[in-house]
């Protein structure tokens, strides 16, 4: 019994080892040239491991020749890969930061390459700007700077609008906001008919927003209050812009339309009325009402004729000799209807 058990175990293990061996990579094979060199004694197998030189490395480079001069060439300065490198608090925006701020039209409404806001503050602020955009047609682009940082003269909001937003045709708002110093904020309303908004109104708007921001002590709360106030005040600016757009459209139409535009308007009104689909039932009802009206008018206006068969003359009268019952009130205790019974009793 034990013999048979050992045999079976041996067969199973042998089959398992064979199957595992079939999955292994094939063993290296000597080529004919190496076999010849080994047989002739030109090459000893494993000599690299047994000597001090060690095994040969593939990336070994030849050492430079002694006395050769090494020349290090200067390369052009590359912008730092770190986009969010923060500048000094009182520095002027320069170098690569100008590119980060004003290189292209911003993808969002918040431009903060220095990451002056924390991640949570940025999320909250972006949400506030998005909420403003849901209710308003006047986007606010907020550029954030530190409290004492300066923007070069060539990058004031108007010039930035002319270069970055030059393809924009609708009114927009650009705000340079200095964290912790809302009174330094710079504001630009530009595009479309926004240039007709009175300057005093723009200044008042900025002053109100800065005043609202100063009510808070925390810098982020200041920023939040500033933009919130700005958003509310911009509602009235939008109203002014809408009125101006309507006026400009009216004036344009008046200029284009010829003097006899009333006739054209009347024709347009008829055309638009003809395009309206009226249900068939309305035609039937209106036709019926019209027919009833015509019949009513005819009925009221019709002339009524008596047949020409007059009675013979009586009592010497040429025109007539007949009268109805006399309506009188002879007896106060008797109703007038009772008097009908008295007819014919006293003619004259």
């Amino acid at each position: 019994m034990n013999v048979w058990l050992r045999f079976i175990v041996g067969v199973v293990l042998g089959a398992a080892s064979l199957s595992m061996a079939a999955k292994l990579p094939p063993l290296p094979v000597w080529n004919d040239a190496d076999k010849t060199r080994i047989k002739e004694g030109e090459m000893v197998v494993g000599i690299a491991l047994l000597t001090d030189a060690g095994p040969k490395k593939e990336d070994d480079t030849p050492e430079p020749e002694q006395g050769a001069e090494v020349i290090i060439e200067a390369v052009d300065a590359k912008p730092s890969l770190d986009r969010h490198e923060q500048l000094e608090e009182n520095s002027e925006i320069s170098g690569v930061h100008l590119e980060h701020y004003f290189g292209k039209k911003p993808e969002g409404y918040l431009v903060d390459p220095q990451q002056l806001l924390s991640m949570q503050e940025r999320i909250d602020f972006k949400y506030a700007l998005d909420m403003h955009m849901e209710e308003s047609e006047l986007p606010i682009y907020v550029y954030l700077f530190d409290s004492a940082q300066k923007v070069p003269e060539d990058y004031v909001p108007q010039k930035v609008y002319d270069t970055v937003f030059k393809e924009n045709k609708n009114p927009i708002v650009i705000v340079y906001y200095y964290i912790g110093a809302p009174e330094r904020s710079d504001f630009l309303l530009s595009g479309g008919v926004s240039d007709r908004v009175p300057e005093w109104q723009v200044k008042e708007l900025l002053w109100n927003a800065a005043h609202k921001a100063r009510e808070k002590s925390d810098v982020f709360d200041q920023l939040d209050g500033f933009v919130g106030q700005l958003s509310m005040r911009l509602f009235w600016v939008e109203e002014i812009l809408r009125e101006m757009i309507v006026e400009s459209v009216k004036s344009a139409v008046d200029q284009q339309s010829p003097p006899d535009s009333k006739a054209d308007k009347f024709v347009q009104m008829l055309d638009s009325a003809a395009e309206v689909e009226v249900p068939l039932l309305v035609y039937w009802i209106s036709g019926g009402v019209l027919l009833v009206g015509i019949a009513g008018v005819w009925f009221m206006k019709r002339k009524l004729y008596f047949p020409e068969s007059s009675s013979p003359c009586r009592l010497g009268g040429d025109v007539g000799a007949k009268s109805g019952g006399i309506l009188s009130y002879r007896n106060r205790h008797q109703a007038p209807s009772v008097q009908r019974e008295q007819f014919g009793k006293d003619f004259f």
């Binding site: 004729y305 007059s310 009592l315 010497g316 000799a321 009268s323 109805g324 309506l327 009130y329 004259f348």
Partner: protein
């Protein structure tokens, strides 16, 4: 009374006898003929308009409203009969027949009213129908609200004349 009687079978009355009774009365009949002087100028205009409308609807007829103040020996029925036959009606439409008179006579003294018609409407008319046409205005008449009374009675007269026309057309067939 026979339709072709020359005189009243009861009293022998003829039109000529009434000339002496109403000798002092004006024979010129204006429309409205306000001999009693109870209608104001706006009221007269209203009655004139009603008369014009009625004469447009009944081209053969001419209408008249008469107010009078009769003595005790006079009577609204005899006065109406006399005035209809002896009166000189003014501004009668050209299309109107001489026998197409419809005259409403009101005695403001005794608060009595009587409707007189010409021979054109004679055949279809009866006393009860004419009486019923006027009863609506009686309460106003008792209150001496003559204009209101006339307005109500004229409405009844118009309806009654329409009924007379229908009846006359039936009788003519």
């Amino acid at each position: 009374m026979h339709l072709s009687a020359e005189e009243c079978p009861h009293c022998g009355l003829v039109l000529a006898q009434l000339d002496s009774v109403y000798a002092g009365f004006d024979r010129t009949v204006r429309r409205p003929h306000d001999a009693a002087g109870v209608l104001r100028v706006p009221d007269r205009k209203k009655v004139s308009k009603w008369i014009a409308r009625a004469e447009r609807a009944f081209p053969q007829l001419y209408f008249c409203v008469v107010t009078c103040s009769l003595r005790d020996d006079q009577n609204v029925r005899s006065y109406g009969f006399w005035l209809m036959n002896r009166g000189e009606f003014q501004d009668i439409p050209e299309s109107a027949s001489k026998e197409g008179c419809v005259m409403l006579v009101i005695d403001v003294n005794r608060k009595e009213v009587c409707l007189h018609v010409g021979y054109l409407l004679d055949a279809a008319m009866n006393e009860e129908g004419a009486f019923d046409a006027l009863t609506g205005g009686h309460p106003y008449l008792l209150e001496s609200n003559f204009m209101q009374s006339i307005e109500v009675m004229l409405g009844g007269v118009r309806k009654y004349v329409k009924r007379l026309r229908r009846k006359a057309r039936r009788l003519a067939k």
